[in-house]
């Protein structure tokens, strides 16, 4: 139906056009201000200058983005697995839960910039350390959301399982775990965003290698060398990486919720 698709296109346009127009206005204003106030490029580079820096260093940026993405995704994946395993133990014993919870909160509240140098001291200035830092920062939201999901089970459903003489393991596998999935998805969305932060902070401290570095290292080096245009380009690449990972996790999550959980 061309009419329907046309109106859908109009809908998309109505949603996308205003922020795009604002972007163009802001970029023009920025470009104009740099010229009008004669701002030095090492302080504020113009949008055109940033764009040309992005194009000329594209290979470097792409490699750094790939390295950061690999670290972020590895840490995120590890936090997903470990988070669900920890939530399993938390859901099985109140004693374990109340004993461990304060330390889980400690893990969450200690600033990542404070532990990052320590992790690098212990595990060396390399990919492994970055993944561990990413893992640490992504873990907590997974633990809390998944534990909540495993504990907030409808009491009548628990009765139903008990009436059918289900084992503890069956109750966990067939009731608590599937019940926790929507919560886990919420936690995973938060963690996916944090994982990029973790990777960049880790790389900022660790660096690792002249030829094999991530965006965090690139940002640190560009800052110290006053290459502000390249710094801007690296910041934009970091943002795009964050949006991509967060968006991908959100899309997968929405698909799972729609398919199995009657999400409205």
């Amino acid at each position: 139906m061309p009419g329907a698709s046309k109106s859908k296109l109009a809908q998309v346009l109505r949603a996308v056009a205003p922020p795009l127009i604002l972007l163009v206005v802001l970029l023009s204003l920025w470009q104009f201000s740099v010229w009008w106030f004669d701002l030095k490029p090492f302080l504020v580079p113009s949008p055109v200058r940033v764009a040309s820096a992005a194009v000329s260093t594209f290979g470097k940026l792409a490699t750094a983005t790939k390295v950061s993405a690999a670290a972020a995704l590895s840490g995120f994946a590890a936090s997903l697995i470990a988070g669900v395993v920890i939530a399993f133990f938390f859901s099985q014993s109140r004693l374990i839960r109340i004993s461990c919870y304060p330390y889980a909160i400690f893990l969450q509240t200690v600033p990542i910039v404070a532990i990052a140098p320590l992790v690098i001291n212990w595990f060396g200035s390399g990919f492994r350390s970055i993944v561990i830092i990413t893992f640490v920062i992504s873990l907590f939201p997974i633990i809390t959301s998944t534990t909540t999901g495993m504990l907030t089970v409808d009491p009548e459903l628990l009765d139903l399982f008990r009436l059918n003489r289900a084992s503890r393991w069956q109750i966990w596998l067939k009731l608590r775990l599937p019940n926790a999935v929507p919560h886990l998805i919420t936690g995973a969305r938060t963690s996916s965003g944090l994982s990029v932060v973790g990777a960049l902070v880790g790389e900022y401290f660790a660096g690792f290698g002249v030829n094999n570095y991530g965006l965090g290292f690139l940002i640190g080096r560009n800052t110290s060398q006053m290459r502000t245009d390249e710094l801007f380009a690296a910041v934009i690449a970091s943002t795009l990486l964050g949006i991509t990972i967060f968006g991908a996790v959100s899309i997968v999550g929405a698909f799972i919720l729609n398919r199995w959980y009657d999400a409205k």
Partner: protein, 267 residues
């Protein structure tokens, strides 16, 4: 029998239900009807008193009890067939023989049970979210029936449905009971439903939660929808309603004369 844990407590409930009997329990909210069902199911334990199911402690005995809740309580991540299959999956005694033939057997049993409660085979693959309230309750019934229970404990299963749907499901429940003759304990607020389904209606009072009256319902089985238009049916519902009113007044503290006037008023 008394019970305390923020749940309605029961006092001096003296009740015996014969094998294969269908008994309804009516009573004001908070009189402990649901607690009684959960005690029989072995989901709660009484603090004092004695309760036996087939001569054994509830939950301990070999008797298979199935529970139907007021909410369908279906698992949204499972299909209709998956929900009905759940009790079979949880039954670890049969899981020991979890070979291909027993899997095919349980598959056939699930399909049969789904059709037994009036759902079509195409519904088996649907998700609970695709079903109406009445259909969800049918799935919930199928999930209880699939285990071939000795006792069915039904806790206001049709309370959320509109009247016509409720009547239809009453007729089907009655048909299902008549064909298998499991022991049925049915809790409801609806007097007409209780009379239609049961051989005996128990009226409970609140504070103390106890059985006030037992009314025999002598109609033959299988019962047809026309029964509801029978003057005798109206008379029995009137009697039960009268008892129910006096049970409610008892709870409110207004005891004197309540039973007589209420019974006369509605009979």
């Amino acid at each position: 029998m008394s019970y305390s844990d923020a749940l309605p407590s029961l006092a001096d409930v003296d009740l015996s239900v014969a094998k294969g009997e269908f008994v309804s329990i009516v009573g004001p909210s908070g009189c402990g009807k649901s607690t009684l069902l959960r005690l029989v199911a072995g989901l709660r334990t009484a603090t004092s008193g004695q309760l036996t199911v087939d001569g054994d402690e509830p939950g301990r005995s070999q008797t298979r009890a199935a529970f139907v809740f007021q909410e369908p309580n279906l698992l949204p991540w499972r299909t209709v067939a998956g929900n009905v299959r759940l009790p079979l999956e949880l039954d670890r005694t049969s899981e020991a023989s979890n070979n291909a033939s027993s899997k095919a057997d349980s598959q056939a049993l699930v399909e049969r049970t789904i059709q037994l409660v009036g759902l079509s085979p195409e519904d088996a693959a649907k998700r609970p979210s695709e079903l109406s309230g009445g259909m969800r309750m049918r799935v919930s019934l199928a999930r209880a029936l699939v285990t071939d229970p000795d006792i069915m404990l039904l806790d206001e299963p049709f309370a959320a449905l509109d009247d016509i749907l409720r009547q239809q499901l009453n007729e089907e429940l009655q048909r299902l009971w008549w064909s298998k003759r499991w022991t049925g304990l049915f809790v409801t607020h609806n007097v007409s439903e209780a009379v239609f389904l049961s051989q005996r209606v128990l009226v409970m009072s609140r504070v103390p939660g106890t059985i006030l009256k037992s009314v025999d319902v002598p109609f033959d089985f299988p019962r047809t929808p026309e029964l509801r238009a029978d003057p005798e049916f109206a008379r029995l519902t009137g009697i039960v309603s009268g008892h129910l009113r006096s049970a409610a007044n008892l709870a409110g503290g207004n005891i004197a004369g309540a039973e007589v006037s209420a019974a006369e008023g509605s009979a």
